[in-house]
Amino acid sequence: MTGDALAVEDLVVSYGNRRDPLRAVDRVTLRVARGETFGVIGESGSGKSTLVMAIAGLLPVARGRVRIAPRGGDLTDAPGSVGRDGQVQVIFQDPMLALSPSLPIWRSVAEPLAPTSFRVPTRLRARAVELLRQVGIGPELAGRGPAQLSGGQRQRVTIARAVAADAPLVMCDEPVAALDISLQAGVLRLLDDLRERNGLTYVFVSHDMTSIARLADQVGVMYLGKLVEAGPVRAVLREPRHPYTQALISAVPTVSSHARARRRALLPGEIPDARRPPSGCRFRTRCRFAQERCAVEEPVLGAGEAHQVACHFWPEIR
């Protein structure tokens, strides 16, 4: 099967009450091809986690729609349930929080195999242990609680659980941000292997450009609930068009002194209050190139192009 595994259309996710809503995700549209990884980058508060939680059905959609293609099927409107009737799994940032502290890990992994039974059947233990082995956790650890594992092992357990659920679409919400640097590469490699072997499609949220560059095929950049730039990962990371993306990329700390000498695009100030976003272009209050037009007219992502950017002046500021 070819085609898209996920289509998000005009999605709005709001927090708070109706009188004073906070639009954490504001009219986001994106498509993810089957078997690909769509990276989402942005600062804290940009709405990237909210986006994937809404796709997974953990947060209500205020407007727009989420369409998901089941295995071997075409895009259809996703059911409103949590997990979209088993089609979406989420790998959270901190595996310590994502694993039940009162269960041995094999039970957590076996749970999606028998979601309706009251007790996790012991006959599923062998299957759970096999899934754990696939993510590099030996059978001798299967009876342990999450607190008795290392951070990297824990995240592997949550990955095994996501595999057990056999959902075609997996949301990875900063899956390695809580791990030691030395463990991150292994977990990323595991995620990529599983995607290939099981034909999974990922939406991968991260603020770490390196992991995005390694895993993602396409990437979207979010700022204050809006998608401001999207396109193939190479194009976006090598030739960022939006001033925000440029600032983000130049802010990546590097160890080499050569790179440090390069001039950085400055990103002054804090992200504005999402309840009262700036008029026009939301980034204008922190943009070096902002002009009068930016305050009046909201730039939109150019439809139809591979590399899209929501900026009035991007050809001039490149």
């Binding site: 804290s44 953990l58 959270f92 603020h207």
Partner: protein
């Protein structure tokens, strides 16, 4: 993690409680006399070889009455704590897992009940149900249950948003299973500790209700009514009050000692609070 060795105090407390419970259960064999047998020739006697704790105003053996009274005390407290547990945990779980409408209503109800003084409410409920061991202990359970409901609710409320609960929901696990498997094991930790405190409290309240004549009907042996009988004789035989009073005090202290130990054990492995997104450092 290695468990700490139980302290001497804990061992003593457990020994006393288990000993008293066994004595109450085995009362027909352990008690030296019939608790109801009167001997009006030997009233208000002090301790002696024949009567280790002396006799009361009807010449009944105090020790035998206390042993038999333990049945009512332990049984009654079990009823009270059982009612508190079942009612309070159900109440709090529903209120915590569906906080919007059900939760608000149920918690306002709890506030109203808590606003009444505990004893006044317990006496009122017992009065309306009719005096007796079971009704008085059920009413004590009901009066204490809104507190348990509040504690359960706050635990459930905190756990239900945890990612391991969300992960279970993502996998299609049904709500009752999620509650039993993921939510309650975490949320009930503080409740277990609270219930040991209520166990001690229930002994006292039961004594008070019996003292007021709302518990076990006389002449059946009961620590509270024995205390009230002794109190009636306080001017003529002040020593009468010692045995039942000390016993009640010791039992409550022992229960609290066990509660302390439970609390220490339960407080490890508490739920961590949720972490926010790591900040992206922007130069």
């Amino acid at each position: 993690m290695p468990r700490a060795r139980p302290s001497a105090g804990l061992i003593i407390a457990l020994t006393v409680l288990i000993g008293l419970l066994l004595a109450a259960l085995l009362a027909p064999w352990v008690a030296p006399y019939d608790p109801l047998a009167q001997n009006l020739d030997n009233r208000l006697a002090g301790p002696s070889g024949a009567h280790l704790l002396g006799t009361d105003q009807f010449g009944r053996d105090v020790l035998s009455r206390l042993i038999w009274g333990g049945r009512n005390a332990f049984g009654g407290v079990a009823i009270a704590v059982g009612v508190t547990f079942v009612v309070g945990v159900l109440w709090g779980t529903v209120a915590g897992y569906w906080p919007r409408y059900a939760g608000t209503t149920l918690m306002r109800l709890a506030d109203i009940m808590i606003a009444f003084p505990t004893m006044v409410l317990a006496v009122a409920i017992t009065g309306s149900l009719g005096a007796g061991l079971v009704t008085s202990m059920v009413s004590i359970g009901l009066v204490l249950s809104p507190n348990t409901a509040q504690l359960t609710r706050s635990g459930v409320l905190a756990v239900r948003q945890q990612q391991f609960v969300q992960s279970a929901r993502l996998s299609g696990v049904r709500t009752p299973v999620i509650l039993a498997r993921h939510v309650l094991p975490m949320a009930l930790r503080p409740v277990v500790v609270q219930l040991t405190i209520y166990t001690g409290l229930a002994f006292v309240i039961q004594g008070v209700l019996s003292f007021l004549g709302l518990g076990v009907p006389k002449p059946a042996p009961s620590w509270g009514s024995d205390l009230s009988d002794a109190y009636a004789q306080i001017l003529s035989a002040p020593a009468q009050i010692v045995a039942p009073g000390v016993l009640l005090g010791v039992v409550v202290l022992c229960v609290y000692r066990v509660g302390d130990a439970l609390r220490d054990r339960m407080s490890t492995g508490v739920v961590r609070t949720e972490r926010t997104e790591d900040d992206l450092i922007v130069a």
